[in-house]
Symmetry: C2
Subunit: 164 residues, 2 copies
DNA sequence: TCGTTTTTTCAAGTTTTTTTGAAATAAGTG
DNA sequence: CACTTATTTCAAAAAAACTTGAAAAAACGA
């Protein structure tokens, strides 16, 4: 019945919101489309469907579907069911504290884990080397261990800091 | 006089150091070669030349030159002049506190700056909109402003935290 | 200054990441 | 259940990021 493609231009406010989140997610190493989608949902006064996102941002269905999934995984958005509507409607999580906690947990913590194993392995390698350089290696590896320890304590500290 | 290409394999310890820093710089959104180069210089008992880096890591001169430049810009390495040697020799900056302070200053602070302008612009746009949604927009933009303020205070706080 | 060695630059090539679009699947409705 | 609509999947295309190598420039030493 309605077959107009609803290609409404973004308002200036929406454009700014989208651009802001695009920059933010690129800083975090996530794809641009994630920032576009979240930005639009974030600023919107009401829940948006995947269709809204596709038509307003001019991105493909595939991008939208994958982007929405990743945002759900990060718990940056959630679905709300509107009675009598078939499509899923998406709402933003607006508590950035939670968003960053999830991001740290999902994207950072695993790497810190791997780092510990690497440093332990390096320690063993340096111990079994009885060369003249062994002292040097131990000192450098110790510095790494201290850095690692700080990283491990930093992420929870940041989460606390954000808790305004 | 010596024309052997000095293609010494990396020791296991060197490989681990390189791999560790590759992961770290990828987390920070920097190219892999930056991590390789810094990792090798970091673990080395003595200063290395660009040539050492090219031959030991098996990367191109171009990559090495560009990577070394970026590392100098970040103040992650510095040149040491060795009497009677023509080539530049590179030493690592091993104080991670300084490294992160430089990184934040160079790569993060500019973005935070831009964010403030964007939020101010959004505020003006929302104020001039006299629609029913204006209240909603103001609330969302205020949350952004709080996030931005936290980001601005967080980076110096991290620098202090690392100061062990 | 001249010849040699070292470093930088940058266009082209390669690799990696992201996006697309069409087909398949799933989900909601009558 | 059959039909329609919505969503997901994934191979291929496009875009972005990184690396290469050869030529140019700079630096050094005699």
């Amino acid at each position: 019945m309605d077959d107009a493609p609803a290609e409404t231009e973004l308002s200036e406010l929406e454009s700014e919101a989208v651009a802001l989140f695009v920059r933010l997610v690129q800083l975090l190493g996530l794809p641009k489309s994630i920032g576009q989608i979240y930005g639009l949902i974030y600023i919107s006064p009401r829940p948006l469907t995947m269709d809204d996102i596709v038509s307003r941002l001019g991105i493909s269905l595939g991008s939208a579907s994958q982007g929405l999934r990743q945002l759900r995984t990060l718990k940056a958005i959630r679905v709300t069911y509107i009675p009598g509507e078939r499509k899923d409607h998406y709402l933003p999580e607006t508590e950035f504290r939670k968003l960053f906690a999830n991001f740290i947990e999902d994207q950072l913590s695993p790497h810190i884990e791997v780092g510990r194993d690497a440093i332990d392995h390096m320690t063993r390698l340096a111990e079994s080397s009885s060369e003249a350089d062994a002292i040097h290696y131990r000192a450098r590896i110790d510095k790494l261990r201290r850095l690692h320890s700080i990283a491990g304590r930093l992420t929870p500290a940041i989460a606390r800091f954000i808790n305004f």
